[in-house]
Symmetry: D2
Subunit: 338 residues, 4 copies
Amino acid sequence: MNFLSDNAAAACPEVIDALVAANVASPRAYDGDAWSARLDGVFGDWFGHACTVFPVSTGTAANALALAAMVPPWGAVVCHADAHIHVDECGAPEFYTGGAKLLLAAGPHGKLTPAGIDAALGGHRGDVHQVQPRVLSLTQATESGTVYTPAELAALGEHARAKGWRVHLDGARFANALVHLGCHPGDISWRAGVAALSLGTIKNGGLSAEAVVVFDEEIAADLRFRRKRAGQMPSKGRFQAAQLLAMIETGAWARNAAAANAGATRLAQAAPQRLLAPVEANELFVNLGPHGGAALRAQGFDFYDWGAAGSGEARLVVAWDTPPAQIDALAAALAALA
Amino acid sequence: MNFLSDNAAAACPEVIDALVAANVASPRAYDGDAWSARLDGVFGDWFGHACTVFPVSTGTAANALALAAMVPPWGAVVCHADAHIHVDECGAPEFYTGGAKLLLAAGPHGKLTPAGIDAALGGHRGDVHQVQPRVLSLTQATESGTVYTPAELAALGEHARAKGWRVHLDGARFANALVHLGCHPGDISWRAGVAALSLGTIKNGGLSAEAVVVFDEEIAADLRFRRKRAGQMPSKGRFQAAQLLAMIETGAWARNAAAANAGATRLAQAAPQRLLAPVEANELFVNLGPHGGAALRAQGFDFYDWGAAGSGEARLVVAWDTPPAQIDALAAALAALA
Amino acid sequence: MNFLSDNAAAACPEVIDALVAANVASPRAYDGDAWSARLDGVFGDWFGHACTVFPVSTGTAANALALAAMVPPWGAVVCHADAHIHVDECGAPEFYTGGAKLLLAAGPHGKLTPAGIDAALGGHRGDVHQVQPRVLSLTQATESGTVYTPAELAALGEHARAKGWRVHLDGARFANALVHLGCHPGDISWRAGVAALSLGTIKNGGLSAEAVVVFDEEIAADLRFRRKRAGQMPSKGRFQAAQLLAMIETGAWARNAAAANAGATRLAQAAPQRLLAPVEANELFVNLGPHGGAALRAQGFDFYDWGAAGSGEARLVVAWDTPPAQIDALAAALAALA
Amino acid sequence: MNFLSDNAAAACPEVIDALVAANVASPRAYDGDAWSARLDGVFGDWFGHACTVFPVSTGTAANALALAAMVPPWGAVVCHADAHIHVDECGAPEFYTGGAKLLLAAGPHGKLTPAGIDAALGGHRGDVHQVQPRVLSLTQATESGTVYTPAELAALGEHARAKGWRVHLDGARFANALVHLGCHPGDISWRAGVAALSLGTIKNGGLSAEAVVVFDEEIAADLRFRRKRAGQMPSKGRFQAAQLLAMIETGAWARNAAAANAGATRLAQAAPQRLLAPVEANELFVNLGPHGGAALRAQGFDFYDWGAAGSGEARLVVAWDTPPAQIDALAAALAALA
């Protein structure tokens, strides 16, 4: 029973159907097809703001491309110390940006705050001997399974703008956050000052398409060339566009995220005393105690240890297609742990 | 009737079937699945040589990643002046390599020769004031629709090795070349000294997977990290691996290439006097005369002009799924041109 | 007798004196000293236009830094096929720019023309599959020892601006050009649309300081950080600033260039029939015939062969401090060649 | 009275004399002169080990070039959180390496220890999703004015080698460390496993030359081209070589460092209770209390605050040429602080 991650789940039927439907003979290549032509409009309507949509093949590419179009090589990206862009992308942001630095800030439960940012940069100078922060990169839902409220994001956006920084949002689990909040997509993107969003679909039931959604034309003009140059412009672009359209137009994004979130909530309710952070999306971070991990694995549950070796900490992730029976079984097993 | 390119054709049924079959719930992510695990073995058997296979999402990414793992930033890649890596990748090789140069050589019908390479580098010095050639990049089939024979490739490989260069092969249309030659895949890759091959499937009936096939462990060890860092390691890696396996294991590579090549040959036979280069794969480069292009377009044929404006030159490409009736129609129209 | 180059000549007394005068105890580091503080003003007065001056240690650094601040990584720099930035800088422009391409144009005697530029870019497209020209880089005096007139430069500048390109000038021998023309420094820089100038002093009698002179504040704001990041901001900045100031304020630039130019003219007059290009600065490109080079070397003259092996072509360079007796000797030897 | 830094002090007479002596007419350019030719031999004798010496114009260039030749772009450099390469070089290491990361470790008084390194990398994984440490960069003397003993360095070197890492030493104040230890230069370089050393002379009485000293031929072969490509190969290379030779051959390195160290020791003895770290080179880090800084400045002493605002912490640096009377005055003032 797989609670390792949501990133290898099946693709949902809506996406498979869309791929098959897009498998027509020889339209124009790259973004010259009818699916690609509809992207900006469909996403613009969904977000309630004009935008440019750049399909890419991975979340790492989405993040790195977006950042590269937002920060000069001598600049810096401020992010949480747990941010995926820092921890799990093999330096892709540094590669794509031409060597910009990530400056790490801390904050509880994966969330940054204006005060935490200021503290992290307390001694940072504006002279030429130091890289200069130009972008704030936030993750929604966070790497700790929590979700920024629109007000929290807006405050961070305002804080960034006051410093002349642009805001990037890593939305690998944007749908999960949106379902949790029940708000409008614009409330946690452009209305909060986000200029570019890495919008994930793969963890949300997609197959091979993520999107960079850009709300700023200057960034989009630059990103257009960087995407091709990065080898992220497939000749059969309709297959990416069709996946992205299907997620939005069929509402799969919401159904899939709701299912995953509900599963995580179900697990959280079974072991509230073990939670290391509020469960607001589809991930749980728990302390299983010294023997809990082994006990669960002995019952067939698969998941990642987290935190320091021997800490007893673990991460449990529910995907859109995790069988309810497996969720029930894990909930029971968690409740039964000594 | 679309003769623009083979790069937007439909995906073949074998690939669609493989994608659907790979759509199972939650195996291990990245390359931890059963499909990815079989890649090196299946391709190793096909090539008759141990290799490491890296799936990527575009041919540009395949080329740029391979080159980056083969050349230092202060090095140079020798290639044909018409090479895709120079002309159509928005500087991806320069980006991925950290700014290595492409040094351009000439040769008839898109083919390089040892003498042509030496001529191009005649005045090149080995001192620190100039970038140093370290890689020879060839294209098979070439950008002119011709095909290197195994003997030609072997001579080029030997020429490169004698200078201490590695050999890269851009095989966006490798299958078309292989079908034309009727030889073993190893004859135009590792046996000719090729260390890394960009093996295209997308123009050959694939959907979204190309491969870098590496015959040199040192290159593979480096490329492994560069691929992730480039955002070219999808979490649902099985969907790429399954496509690549399907192309080889079902023999689709050969059927599709044979169909495309045969169509091009059919067209060539209809207008032999118009050919600018031998037709050895699935592309024709023709001179349609001052009015021929317009005449064909008036009959509903779509294709790209080529060469200098007003030259009357054009490119006609046949895809694996170009309808035979359309090929017949174009053959007739070509034959009927004044 | 050394006619190899002007790039290893002695430093002139004005520069040595300035270095010694700047050797005071512990002013502020970097650019916090009194010498550095005067740079922008002194050069601004000289050029007749506000500018920002960035001292650097080599001409290669000057060129590469200037270009990096002017072109995006997916952009291109149009330059002459003989340009130093292409031929003799080991890919420094590609390194500093993050992999921008140099697009090569041709023109007689090392000079570009609007028509030559357009011809070179005839087939270049504006789509995302190709790098986009954003900078025109010219060399004054050229790599062939010729000099653009103010009118020629202005026409090129206008041609570039009409395309939305910025103009960079490699002025490794700017002083030689200026003395030849007898015009105002502004006439061959900002008045002709030059946004950034690599102003050489080292070939003109300097010791270790070149300057990037920037007439555009946006470029300067970016270059400031790139310079430090490149390791081109010495802590004892006054020693670079003092050299640059000395060259301008003492008039050494003009005296030294005049001496070198006069020597070259003297040689040119001795063998007018051998010239491959007009001699307008301090370099001669000559054809010495099949045995001329050996004959001169047998008499103790040292110089570089040029052009293709066996062509009989050679380059003769006069430095600011080449002894007049040696120039006389070479003039006589040239005249006496069969 | 300037205790800001040693990095803007005068150049010592030995260096000025060497520059003047090297100001001869037109030897061969770049490294073709007699001074450059002696570098490897003189430094090899001094270190007791064959080495390749690359003169550069700044310490930042020395560090960044050395690291670029030692780490792949997807690699990481482990260094102290206070390291100059992380804090004060505007991202030069990231630029030169093509985006490698710096991974920060902690340790008291600016020193790393094997245990501190292991703690910092406790959770670091070897998979492709994370950058891979390949270099350990240490600073000698450290950023806290302390000095690694040969045994400490050897233990760190052994620790690094056991992991397959190379060792880089930032020796901006190498001479100060060497004088403090009274050991052989080899004891704190190659004997401790250092493969490449940034050897500073500028803070030690030099004018404009630092050196990268490489004890590993593979690194040197790569660095040779990177140096030119970085714009760090001056045409009048003899002026850099002459400075480096003068520092070693006249013994100025030792005299100058001894003078600076002695001054710092004198100050330390005047206020031992204020020291934040042992004073082992020419820098003091002190806590001046809430009003001490202002009191000293009122008496005409200039220096940098250090640490957090309001902490009362300050840095006092003695240069080779700081007037003894000023040192006496500061010592008295320190002793007299409440």
